[in-house]
Amino acid sequence: MDLRDGPEEAAFRATLRTWLEANVPSGLRGFRGWSGPALELGRDWSKRLARAGYAGLTWPKEYGGAGQPWRYQAVYLEELARAEAPQHLGVIGLGMAGPTIIAHGRPDQKTRYLAKILSAEDIWCQGFSEPGSGSDLASVRTRVELIGDRFVVNGQKVWSSYAHVADRCILLGRSATASEKHEGLTYLIVDMKSPGVEVRPLRQITGEAEFNEIFFTDVAVPKENLLGEIGGGWRVAMTTLSHERGTFGFALAGALDVAVRKLVALARERAATDALVRDRVAREWIDLQALRYTNYRALARLERTGVPGPEGSVAKLRWSEANQRLTKLAIEIIGREAQVADGDGAPAYWRHQQLRSRGNTIEAGTSEILRNIIAERVLGLPRSR
């Protein structure tokens, strides 16, 4: 057990920190989300990250990655959060589609897709959730039919981040309507420029549009874009989802670290003598440390076994709740002034953060689903359904 950076990690961290200071474009500093002007800078920023070697840190070298242990990805995410810089725009490609192709793809698919994920030439999005299939993913109804040498896709996907800028989509659809839920699923790679693909941005509670609906109308997908087997999509999708929470916790704890620092500054300025505020700020600080060290434990397990442990669900669950509590506390400290929604000052910043935080307990696995996962897979309790 050693909680300090080893010499190589420390060097990596120092180099990255300096690089970030010099390279984060001013329009992306204090990053809040991929919308508006930030989006236009996103691709260039991502290419810059890739050229500097910060894309695919943990990908195997044979696929163009850096082949580094997971701890480097952890340091990368911590430092990005610390600099309040955005991640690579292609996080779905780097974190989910890429590893899924590495695990299930044919050699020609690996050659065709992986390099462009790393270089940010191709941005990916995820077509999993549907209006009628949220937490119950296996109930997706988007139809995938093999007709001759191609699949034809019809249906609707929703809550798809990056779809409005994406080049490709990993799509889970149903190829056999009559068979059992999980067995009838098929996993495809869809070119977002195909005729019949329509993306409609969804405006969210903050007024911004970070995610989208995707409509597929008779979209033709070449047969070679199949990932895995026809009817074997569920297994492939599980690989994708298992990567969703790998080192994700570090990005979350990093963001929370920034939020706690801002909260402390706000409390110092406006409520330093309020005993109740002091108690609640201290609670948030303790929770942040708890999350951070839980991530380090998860990382140790990931490096030892290669498989993300249940700590990923723990981190996501607690981070989302902490972020909601913390942003509300900030709003409370600010008081009536927090009704002001525009401008660059603290009121508008915290109001935006507070509204955005409501999505935290829903996106990437609702808190209810995460509690089910913990109850069933960790504690071994009987299934609730």
């Binding site: 057990m1 050693d2 708890a290 723990v314 504690l379 071994g380 309790l381």
Partner: protein, 355 residues
């Protein structure tokens, strides 16, 4: 960056778990708690034989020369087993002051000597040749009735120093109190010109007192983690086997999500407690903050874990016969230790926000 235990440390945990599970099945907890001594005296030589009493004591004094991280593992496992002997007292509260006297360390390592901390501002020390005499009263002293000696914080002519008062017959006078947690008895210790030996004069004592507090807070956080994880295990076991409306009650989310929350809080408490343990072992600058945070969080988590487990057990969890209340009462004692959670958070707020 490596937050994992070594194979040797994992082995120590496995050894502790198996020894304690065999020796202290749940059915034995009531028998020990209601016994005259309140603890299984015969266990102490066993703990010494297993190397636990000397874990962090230098090899020159007969110890294993390991660190607080190894002791941390033992604290957690002892909490899980609701052990009632003076390990916490001797190793967490006593050891930093006892380290001033190598002869005492050797006796602790061999299992021949136990001690606890009697602190309070009311005890006075006066010089008597090359020895000292103590006068005054200290309250709620952990394991007062079980130990061989007291490390006493007493006020001498130059300030607060640390003294060692050994038990001889009926001196000092000890009154074991009727407190909530019968598995960790607390007592009032009254010194009436009792003989003592100086361990640390005021100049050196301040840092030892601070170090003792850090160790004690981290150790008790670890014990809380052990208590919480056992309460969780009991709750899960019950939720799997108890059936109502034709299904195990653990299939209902009203029950399973409570237990999931307990799991989450126990894991977070564990992360904080291990962080604190590492900081103490490495004498890291953040040790005090980490120990305070770990205790505040873990104590609350342990109390909540027990309360949820009682709820999941229904009427049975509320009975005297079920062992859960014994875990709950330990958690309540842990929560009261040193200062309240609110007071600990106030310390953290002071670091973050100033006065």
């Amino acid at each position: 960056m490596d937050f994992s235990f070594s194979p040797e440390q994992d082995q120590l945990r496995a050894q502790a778990r198996s020894f304690l599970e065999k020796r202290y099945p749940l059915a034995r907890l009531a028998e020990i708690a209601t016994s005259e001594d309140g603890w299984d005296r015969a266990s102490w030589p066993e703990l010494a034989r297993l190397g636990w009493t000397g874990a962090s004591i230098p090899e020159a004094q007969g110890g294993a020369g390991l660190s607080f991280v190894e002791e941390a593992i033992v604290f957690e496992e002892l909490g899980r087993a609701l052990y009632s002997g003076p390990y916490f007292s001797t190793i967490a509260l006593g050891l930093p002051a006892l380290a001033r006297a190598p002869d005492l360390l050797a006796k602790v390592a061999s299992g021949a000597f136990t001690a606890t901390l009697a602190s309070g501002t009311a005890v006075q020390a006066r010089e008597a040749g090359d020895r000292w005499r103590l006068r005054g009263e200290t309250d709620l002293v952990a394991d007062a009735g079980s130990v061989d000696a007291f490390v006493v914080q007493a006020r001498g002519p130059d300030g607060i120093g640390l003294y060692l008062a050994e038990r001889h017959g009926t001196r000092p006078q000890i009154c074991v109190l009727d407190t909530v947690d019968a598995s960790r008895r607390l007592g009032r210790v009254t010194f009436a010109d009792d003989d003592a030996r100086l361990l640390a004069a005021p100049a050196a004592a301040a840092e030892i007192i601070a170090a003792t507090r850090r160790r004690a807070l981290a150790a008790i956080a670890l014990e809380a983690v052990g208590v919480a994880s056992r309460a969780l295990a009991l709750g899960v076991e019950h939720a799997k086997s108890r059936e109502q409306f034709g299904r195990p009650i653990g299939a209902y989310q009203a029950v399973s999500h409570k237990l999931a929350d307990t799991y989450v809080e126990t894991e977070l408490a564990r992360s904080l407690a291990y962080w604190a343990a590492w900081c103490i072992a490495e004498d890291d600058g953040q040790a005090e903050l980490a120990a305070v945070a770990a205790k505040a969080y873990a104590a609350e988590a342990a109390v909540a874990a027990c309360e949820r487990a009682i709820q999941v057990h229904g009427g049975m969890g509320f009975t005297w016969d079920h062992p859960l209340h014994r875990y709950y009462k330990r958690a309540l004692w842990i929560e009261s230790f040193d200062r309240s959670g609110a007071a600990h958070r106030a310390e953290i707020a002071q670091t973050l926000l100033g006065d």
